[in-house]
């Protein structure tokens, strides 16, 4: 496997696709997305990286000296440790490489606390052995700092570092934990260590077969097995994410843990088919199912019932229920042999005849497949977004009536979508597959409120509690 660092260059502007990150998210081998000084940073192969205020719009600008490939970042105490590799990777035909560590107190080049300090070399390959000391990744668990590295050229290895200094723990020897991987990453959850790595072919644009797989172990040193019990040291690995839509060749996983228990992951796509097939940053929801990480997805534009995970009731306009004409007595008394015919769905015109012209409050009620319960979810082009998902508008299907936050912290439908911030909704898939729905802002500026079923039949805006079903919603096809 020959890696090409040349892919990451050329940060010229391109037209962003609606369902992908905005800005100029061109990068290869992104480091774990890390918060510093109120902004989010990721660094890639060669120098530099990307920075974002919101996880949706990304621009160049970060500074990382040292060059080399595939860095990773971890914050421990006040320090941001950065690991990167120089040499190796098959570039120029060689596999001699060194994993180096440095630290800084800020990732913001404009901060007075910004400034890198070299720690030294913590792992290496000599160019003769079948090993390739590149693609480092940190994991800190219970005060112990681990670092994995390696490529298809030999095993993936793990070493232990001193979290106080970033140096290798004295006497520590590398342990082989996987083969047939590169761009590894580690996670720890509920007593399991997860080793993720990229399989497939790198660096060939739309023809790259890059995809991410995972195994898990009770010890950071392994043995890592996949869901079929196949050791990662024998090529195992459960699929996490592969090509989808216009995004081809995901690789170089990075876990992102956000507020409210929301988890997402970063990666690069070898080819963004809407951006000339160039390598770009990608961010997707991270789900956990049966103890395994699974790639989630942003809500797909379309028309849905929005169901509360609290009561199972459906979000809808709080309008008078309109009955479908029906002769209950005749129906119950009908003979099996009596002819039947389809009943038409209730039309929007039938349901909406009595709707108020202005603002209408919303409530939760039995889902009856009625027009006042059908919401069309549409990404709003150019409105921004948050961590891998654009802001959406939620409108009653076939109408201009749009869900909106009120200054009093309640929710209502306004007659016409105007693009105001209180009508833009951040929809984040949660680790169980349901969704959190938050207004971009509530009139008055609050940004910490989410759509919550405060009663079985009452939606409102409240702080999101990840432990409660009240703030979780499911988008169901009508």
């Amino acid at each position: 496997m020959i890696r090409s660092a040349a892919l990451l260059l050329a940060l010229a502007s391109a037209t962003p696709a609606a369902a992908q990150l905005a800005g100029e998210p061109f990068i290869h081998d992104p480091s774990t997305v890390t918060l510093s000084d109120g902004r989010w940073y990721t660094f890639g192969t060669r120098q530099g990286g990307l920075v974002s205020d919101d996880g949706w719009t990304w621009h160049g600008g970060p500074v990382r000296p040292g060059g080399g490939v595939a860095p990773d970042v971890i914050k421990i105490g006040e320090r941001y440790y950065v690991a990167y590799a120089v040499g190796g990777g098959g570039m120029s035909g060689g596999h001699a490489s060194q994993v180096k560590i440095m630290w800084t107190l800020s990732l913001d080049p404009k901060s007075p606390r910004f400034g890198y300090h070299d720690v030294g070399v913590v792992a290496s390959s000599d160019g003769v052995e079948t090993a390739d000391a590149i693609d480092p990744d940190f994991l800190l668990v219970d005060g112990r700092l681990w670092l994995t590295y390696g490529t298809y050229f030999g095993p993936i290895r793990i070493v232990e570092l001193d979290p106080k200094t970033g140096l290798r723990v004295a006497g520590n020897q590398p342990v082989d934990v996987a083969i047939d991987m590169e761009a590894t990453a580690m996670m720890y959850r509920d007593g399991w260590y997860y080793l993720l790595g990229t399989h497939g072919t790198c660096c060939d644009g739309p023809n790259s077969t890059y995809h991410i797989r995972v195994g898990r172990a009770r010890s950071p040193l392994g043995p890592y097995l996949d869901h079929m019990g196949v050791p990662l040291l024998r090529g195992g690995g459960k699929l996490v994410v592969s090509a989808r839509g216009r995004s081809i060749g995901p690789g170089h996983f990075g876990r992102i843990q956000l507020d409210g228990g929301v988890e997402k992951f970063s990666m690069h796509y070898e080819a963004d088919m809407d951006r000339s097939g160039r390598s770009v940053l990608g961010i997707q929801p991270l789900l956990w199912r049966d103890g395994w990480p699974v790639a989630g997805e942003n809500v797909v534009p379309g028309t849905y019932e929005i169901a509360s995970e609290r009561s199972g009731y459906a979000l809808g306009l709080a309008t008078d229920f309109v009955r479908i004409p029906f002769d209950a007595r005749a129906s119950f008394m009908a003979k099996p042999s009596d002819p039947v015919a389809p009943l038409p769905d209730q039309s929007l015109a039938q349901d909406s005849a009595g709707w108020p012209q202005g603002r209408v409050r919303v409530d939760l009620a039995d889902y009856m497949v009625r027009p006042h319960q059908l919401w069309t979810v549409t990404p709003v082009a150019g409105a921004g977004g948050w961590f891998g998902a654009p802001y959406y508008k939620l409108t009653i299907a076939g109408t201009t009536r749009a869900l909106a936050a009120t200054a009093a912290g309640e929710v209502e439908a306004v007659p016409v979508f105007t693009g105001a911030a209180e009508q833009l909704w951040q929809i984040d898939q949660l680790t169980d597959g349901s969704y959190r729905i938050k207004p971009k802002t509530v009139p008055g500026g609050r940004r910490d409120l989410a759509l919550v079923a405060i009663g079985a039949s009452t939606p409102s805006l409240a702080a999101f509690d990840p432990a409660s079903p009240a703030g979780r919603w499911t988008f169901r096809r009508p």
Partner: protein, 233 residues
């Protein structure tokens, strides 16, 4: 006729299908125990909400007859009209007392009661008093004394069937359509409990079937408020 209906038909559906007169369908002889299994006369000592915050002390008016052969028509528009109609003088303004009688279509008496349950069993009240149980409107009244002003409070109500609730003269909560009583079913917008006396009025409308309600206040964190007291006598 009823015996010939499929067993899975609910009482309400059966009433709909057979065209029974709701009042007659729900009219039953008063049980010998009266309302005793469900209520006790309100004591003189102040009452506090139960441990979950539910208000158990209420003045309850004997039911107003309002025939409805089904609960299916309880839209917000219908219920709001039905429950804001004047049935007796001082309906929204007077301070009732135990034993007071109001001049509705027929004389109806207020009863100051403590509920034995978190929910106020209106059907059993009517049944125990030998009054109509179906096709009725129940009026409820209570007062909560708050030791301090409480902001961002929510009134949380469940009712069978539809109902509207007013706090200090302003509509706070409406429950519409054919509902079953579920705790914390519908919550008010954020509101303020005054320091001192706060008046709660409610009206529950029901066609056929059981009828009850439960009501409590929740704080800004959704926790029940128990630091309230009620004196009705």
């Amino acid at each position: 006729m009823r015996a010939s209906l499929p067993h899975w038909l609910t009482t309400a559906t059966a009433a709909l299908l057979i065209g029974a007169t709701p009042a007659s369908a729900g009219q039953q002889a008063a049980p010998a125990a009266g309302i005793a299994p469900y209520f006790t006369p309100a004591a003189a000592a102040p009452a506090t909400p139960d441990g979950d915050g539910f208000l158990r002390r209420w003045l309850l008016l004997e039911p107003i007859t309002k025939p409805n052969r089904s609960n299916a028509g309880f839209t917000a528009s219908y219920v709001r009209t039905a429950l804001t109609t004047d049935y007796f003088p001082g309906q929204f303004t007077a301070t009732p007392h135990d034993g007071d009688t109001v001049r509705a279509a027929e004389p109806l008496r207020w009863h100051a009661l403590d509920s034995n349950s978190f929910d106020i069993k209106l059907f059993n009240l009517a049944q125990g008093l030998g009054k109509p149980t179906y096709g009725v409107i129940f009026w409820a009244y209570t007062v909560v004394d708050s030791p301090r002003e409480m902001r961002d409070v929510r009134m949380a109500v469940g009712s069978n069937a539809a109902s509207i609730w007013w706090l200090n003269g302003k509509e706070a909560v409406g429950l519409f359509n054919d509902r079953r009583m579920v705790m914390d079913d519908v919550l008010s917008d954020r509101l303020t409990l005054r320091k001192g006396r706060n008046v709660i009025r409610g009206a529950v409308i029901n066609g056929p079937g059981l009828s009850d309600f439960c009501l409590r206040f929740l704080d800004a964190d959704g926790k029940p408020i128990t630091a309230l007291s009620t004196v009705l006598r």
